[in-house]
């Protein structure tokens, strides 16, 4: 009987893909391990292998089809006739996956839904950058492309800028952020390193002290813990310790925060850690325009910058203004949605959650203002306090742990400098205070979502 071949999930974050090419046609006999098709994910083109043996029945999705959701049936396969030689083991397995009685009625396996699915929202800022002139054209760009464009533009502009890290060159980036850079700039300026974070963070910092402007990519910031000594002791403190003689203009960048179903060692937000260190600049953008404008500013800065990206938003598209040299100021928060009843403060992926919550709150008659901090050090407290004056209520939304967090810091600043403007205590909506678990339900329970933000906002509005 028939086996359904479904669009596979080829990465932890893949939700859909392009069926680039079929390598088999209807009626072909395939053996387990044969390549059936090439599938393009947001990161790479992957080969899709047959698991079962048999004859290709019908091809349901034509090659070149984009946006094929994971789990969609893309072809059917007739199972091999059982009982031939050593093939017997195959028969029960095939029967199990497709009971002959009623194949349509076979219960679909319950797909484990990651807790991160509620993090990566489609929410977009409703307020454009006021610094841009009326009539500016915008181009839809993924965060991934925006980051790449920022690096490419700065590398064209300044010969001292180079990129180093694991898989940044020939592999085109573990998350494809450095795609195409090797081709344009060559292996002198786009450098694959061995897996040796402490070493290459030190080499990067030393090269910066020697007058270059390195961009050091960490495959994720989880691995930067191996290198944190150089980020803090070498890069952040040298200018001060040398009485202003020796600079270290370097950008440490890469994905930060929870990814999808990768558990505790690969899911942590380091924003508060780095933001506590004098001598560092810490940037954590949400959308493509900020990713581009702030990464360009980070590369130009004469100070060491920790630039925290988020894997879950790499593939999201946002408008990026079509201007020649889009550089944003470091240290300036941005109001991404205006409102008068309550202020929601967030950064990075939390901004999407806050925007989604604001939308839901609007439905309940609560007009929320959303602030994207964008830079975590120096923190733009003025924008937060200004908004508080208007709304008198504040909730901080942070995809990260609660203790000693950016949320804690904002709460302290508001206590010290905005106490008289508060009509309710500041509330923090953060992840649960546990290492991030693997199990889908637990992961979901551990991470922030819009519902929790809505509940907190209603609480401070006494609704």
């Amino acid at each position: 009987m028939g086996i359904e071949i479904k669009m596979p999930a080829l990465s932890p974050t893949m939700e859909e893909g392009t069926l680039a090419k079929w390598l088999v046609k209807e009626g072909d006999e395939v053996r387990s391990g044969d390549i059936l098709a090439e599938i393009e994910t947001d990161k790479a083109t992957m080969e899709f292998e047959a698991v079962d043996e048999g004859k290709i029945g019908q091809i349901m999705v034509a090659e070149g089809t984009e946006g094929v959701k994971v789990g969609t049936v893309i072809a059917t396969m007739a199972a091999d006739g059982a009982g031939e030689g050593g093939e017997t083991a195959q028969a029960p397995k095939a029967a199990e996956s497709a009971p002959p009685a009623a194949p349509e009625a076979a219960p679909a396996p319950r797909k484990a839904e990651s807790g991160t699915s509620k993090l990566a929202t489609e929410a977009k800022a409703t307020v454009k950058d006021p610094a841009l002139p009326e009539g500016t054209e915008y181009i839809k760009t993924t965060v991934r492309e925006a980051l790449r464009d920022a690096m490419a533009e700065e590398m064209r502009r300044d010969e001292r800028v180079f990129v180093m890290g694991e898989e940044v060159a020939e592999y085109q980036g573990a998350y494809k952020v450095t795609q195409g850079l090797l081709e344009e700039f060559g292996d002198r300026r786009v450098i694959d390193t061995p897996i040796t974070e402490y070493g290459f963070a030190g080499i990067g910092a030393g090269a910066a002290m020697g007058g270059l402007k390195p961009i050091v990519e960490f495959m994720t910031f989880n691995f930067a813990m191996q290198a944190i000594d150089h980020i803090i002791n070498s890069a952040a403190k040298t200018n001060y310790m040398s009485g202003g003689q020796m600079r270290c203009p370097i950008v440490f960048r890469g994905p930060n925060g929870a990814a999808s179903r990768v558990a505790a060692q690969h899911s942590q937000n380091y924003g508060p850690w780095y933001a506590s260190v004098p001598g560092l600049i810490v940037i954590a953008p949400y959308d493509s325009a900020d990713a581009k404008g702030l990464l360009k500013a980070a590369i130009r800065s004469d100070d060491p910058v920790v630039f925290l990206e988020n894997e879950l938003v790499y593939g999201r598209s946002f408008d990026v203004p079509k201007v020649d040299d889009y550089v944003l100021p470091i240290g300036k928060a941005r109001i991404v949605r205006e409102g008068k009843d309550v202020t929601l403060v967030s950064y990075s992926i939390g901004v999407g959650v806050a925007l989604e919550a604001a939308e839901a709150l609007a439905g309940e008659g609560i007009d929320a203002e959303v602030i994207d901090l964008r830079t975590l050090r120096p923190l733009d407290t003025a924008t937060v306090l200004e908004s508080l004056k208007k709304t008198n209520r504040l909730v901080v939304v942070e995809e990260g742990w609660p203790v000693c967090s950016i949320a804690s810091e904002i709460a302290a600043v508001v206590m010290e400098q905005g106490f008289d403007d508060l009509d309710a205590p500041v509330l923090r909506v953060t992840n649960e205070d546990v290492p991030l678990p693997y199990a889908a339900n637990l992961e979901k329970a551990a991470l922030i979502d819009a519902a929790r933000v809505v509940a907190a906002a209603k609480k401070v509005c006494y609704r």
């Binding site: 020697g210 003689q245 020796m246 800065s301 100070d303 120096p378």
Partner: protein, 358 residues
Amino acid sequence: MAKPTTPRPSRAKAKAAAPAAGADHNRPRPDTPKDYKATKEELLEFYRQMVLIRRFEEKAGQLYGLGLIGGFCHLYIGQEAVAVGIQSALQPGKDSVITGYRDHGHMLAYGIDPNVIMAELTGREAGISRGKGGSMHMFSVEHKFYGGHGIVGAQVSLGAGLGFAHKYNNDGGVCVAYFGDGAANQGQVYESFNMAELWKLPIIFVIENNQYAMGTSVNRSSAEDQLYRRGESFRIPGIQVNGMDVLAVRGATEEALKWVQAGNGPILLEMKTYRYRGHSMSDPAKYRSREEVQSMREKSDPIEGVKKYLADLGVLEDELKKIDQDIRKIVSDAADFAETSPEPELHDLYTDVLVEQY
């Protein structure tokens, strides 16, 4: 485990091109270095610099005892031939240098003004780091001296980065990264060896093996205690050098520079040396005997060694006495300067955290 330690720097002849068992014998290797043939003037200059370091460090020790210098203070006494011999072979303004926290001697060998070094030790505004770095964190970008780093081993990766910058800029410079026998056991040293050889970076790794990582002798901490072999598995050739003899040091440095400048990538020099004082000022040095130290001072002292070379060339004791007097004056002036200079203004607390304003 209580093996007596018997440091043998005085007998350690330069062992070059002695590959570890199993190494590829067909690989090209640097030549066995020869002792440098110094002119009388050069020898006098070596003598002058080494005495300057010795007297400066003795004075720093005194000031520490008086409470004028605080925190950690690591003296270079006994190791003078290493910094002086190596620096003398480098091209100022072209080659770069980086080291750990035992950095006073290197700066003096580089010709940096003793006044601003001593004033940094006393934490004064006029100090080379404006009083904010102290003994372990001194820098002179102008002299291409990149510190002065307090984290054991960090300077090795940073030095590889400086070597990377030389290569990237194609400026013909070589980086010399100094570290101790203690740092030689840090993981990042080997990460840096790997990339330095992989990318053929112009860098000379110098292990100043003074026999003790704080209180732990090399043979109590190092499975391979012949540290010049530590680069072998990265194909970095190593040379063991008598670090108590400035001419041996200079000779080995010449050979190392030749190797690196020819585009062969990094090289490792193990300088067998000895520190007469404790690890830092607060170290009672109970881990070695008084006799051991005394024996080193009597048989291998680098300054006495240069004196002998000078005597062979007919330089009279009186001529050296004149140099000694000049140096005592320089050091005493530096101490006065460091004691009388004002401390940093309070507003300096907030300056130079960042370069730019945001």
